[in-house]
Symmetry: C2
Subunit: 350 residues, 2 copies
């Protein structure tokens, strides 16, 4: 990766950009010349009622969901739906520490919250496309946070919601887990409070960050059964190196830190003075709450408790050895389980 910029269209495909102008953030700071990178698939129909919004997770870009879930004959079929995949702030394409000019660059990039992403996405959806209802909003992990924020903030717009392996309000344990990610990145003296010259100067911090994911990102059962072999890895070292390290090492440390802070502060109850039940009660969407069994940082029980507070919802646990990373579709069974649930949900009348 020495000569290739990780955040390039060569690696992530072409994006479109929505210029947000001076964008006031939830913290009160304003980000000048903010931009929202996004992709679309399919065509918006005349009634403008065939749109789906597919948000993405920590460390991801729209590519990661697009390549795994959008396709003809799949539930997210571009011949039927107009599918919008927005990039979250901090992903390296939308406004991020790594692509914002002085004086908001790198370690000086302002804190961004899930609500900021969703307000920007709402502007894209309404101002650019003139859409007033979304057939489905979905996302995994931090994408689930965005999904919940959509369903609570704009309940009349969201017809169906599919949060996978993520919560409407970050739990204290998950907060501690994500703080550990932040702390191990910052543990590298090369991080220099975000003002490193080259992201490779923070290689040790990024390695430690990948190590935390290797220990908690999948299930202990996956390692016990050496089920990584089924995904084409020849040894545990090979898996750790070519899966966890290869995924996280090319990324920008400040971009990851931006998303991590946002992740920790995800909380729809900010709309209701801290009352989570009242916030979730606002949701009008038909909602499938979909945890992954064995997920160590979004345990099934976290979903059970939130789902009980969502009026028109169902709990659908997806069983996999891949834990939180089930959404990577490392097995065909995982892909089918997710597709089947999406197909069911899209077939529900609303």
């Amino acid at each position: 990766m020495l000569e290739t910029d990780y955040y390039s269209e060569e690696l992530h495909g072409p994006h479109q950009y929505f210029e947000l102008g001076a964008f006031e953030l939830q913290t009160g700071l304003t980000l000048p010349n903010a931009k929202l990178a996004y992709k679309t698939h399919g065509w918006l129909n005349e009634a403008k009622d065939n749109a789906i919004l597919f948000t993405h997770m920590y460390s991801g870009t729209p590519r990661d969901m697009e390549t795994r879930f959008v396709g003809e004959g799949r539930p997210l079929d571009p011949s039927q739906y107009f599918i919008i995949l927005p990039g979250q702030f901090g992903n390296g394409f939308s406004s991020s520490p790594s692509n914002t000019p002085v004086p908001d660059d790198r370690g000086a990039f302002p804190k961004v919250m899930i609500g900021d992403d969703v307000r920007a996405q709402h502007r894209l959806v309404t101002e650019v496309f003139g859409i007033s209802e979304l057939q489905l909003v979905l996302g995994w992990s931090m994408g689930a946070e965005q999904t919940y924020e959509w369903a609570v903030r704009y309940p009349d717009m969201v017809k169906r919601a599919a949060p996978f392996a993520g919560t409407a309000k970050t739990t204290p344990h998950c907060d501690m887990f994500v703080r550990m990610h932040e702390d191990v990145i910052k543990s590298d003296p090369g991080w220099n409070n975000g003002f490193y010259k080259d992201r490779r100067d923070v290689r040790l911090g990024l390695l430690r960050h990948a190590q935390v994911w290797s220990v908690m990102g999948a299930t202990q059962e996956l390692y016990r059964r050496e089920a990584w072999r089924d995904a084409g890895f020849s040894s545990l070292d090979d898996f750790n190196h070519r899966f966890w390290e290869a995924w996280f090492l090319p990324m920008d440390p400040n971009d990851l830190l931006c998303m991590a802070w946002k992740w920790r502060h995800g909380d729809v109850s900010l709309h209701t003075g801290g009352d989570l039940a009242a916030a979730l009660d606002r949701i009008k969407a038909k909602t499938f709450v979909m945890p992954f069994s064995g997920d160590m940082f979004f345990p099934v029980q976290d979903h059970v408790e939130e789902q009980a507070l969502i009026p028109n919802s169902e709990l659908r646990v997806i069983e996999s050895l891949w834990g939180h990373f089930t959404m990577f579709c490392m097995t065909e069974a995982d892909r089918q389980a997710i597709d089947n649930n999406l197909r069911d949900l899209l077939a529900r009348p609303v």
Copy 2:
């Protein structure tokens, strides 16, 4: 703690010391003037058949098991049994990086294995006390590793075995987890390859080490329910600071690293050319295998698979929100569950 040495009798109570002389380690290196610190409770009877050996866990000393489990009217009753609590190498009292003179001090302390501990303990038991059978060998976590090593290495001596939340062979996932502990301690530049002047120079490394424990040492459910309140903590920060950090921060980094390396390399199948089933089949002790539900680094399933290979054994899962730290007896229910199992086991004829 600035003026008090953590590894003091003031904090850990009086020890006795067994001088091992020049002790040949499993790796082939010899540790000169090796010593085994230990405590005893009760009296050895004339038949010398009332002895119990109670090993201890990572980061612990005999005090930690003694104060929680030894007492009149308890299963480990010193009026009935002669209870020996050996300190493992690296615990700060038995030979350890922190208490061994040049040239084997600090970062130069040789690697020690579980088999070394158990051979030293066997010499203590046979040479000092003339004991030829142990009514019970027990231990938690790394203590379970020592328990299994005893039962496989000296099957005729061990009448009953009680491994709590630990395995006979460290799993690949657990190995990754413990390597993370080693790596976060070493991430502190103050560690200086083990040749720091003062353990407080490695404070950041020790803090990161405590952080990993805070995320994985108990269950997510404990945090979800804020069950730490029942243990007398007023806030999550208070719990993290006064429980996890207070426990680990005063310790010597090299001593922890010595024990961590030993933990990762625990493997009774070293006796049988890598054949775990053959090694466990050697066990003659009546064995209760006792995992703690929700333990993130010794999951119940790891115990299920090993227990199935132990001839005269039972699986006894202990349910608790405290996960791996159930053995700390933070609730009276945990203490009683452990005591009840020990009482049952000691009542079994052998």
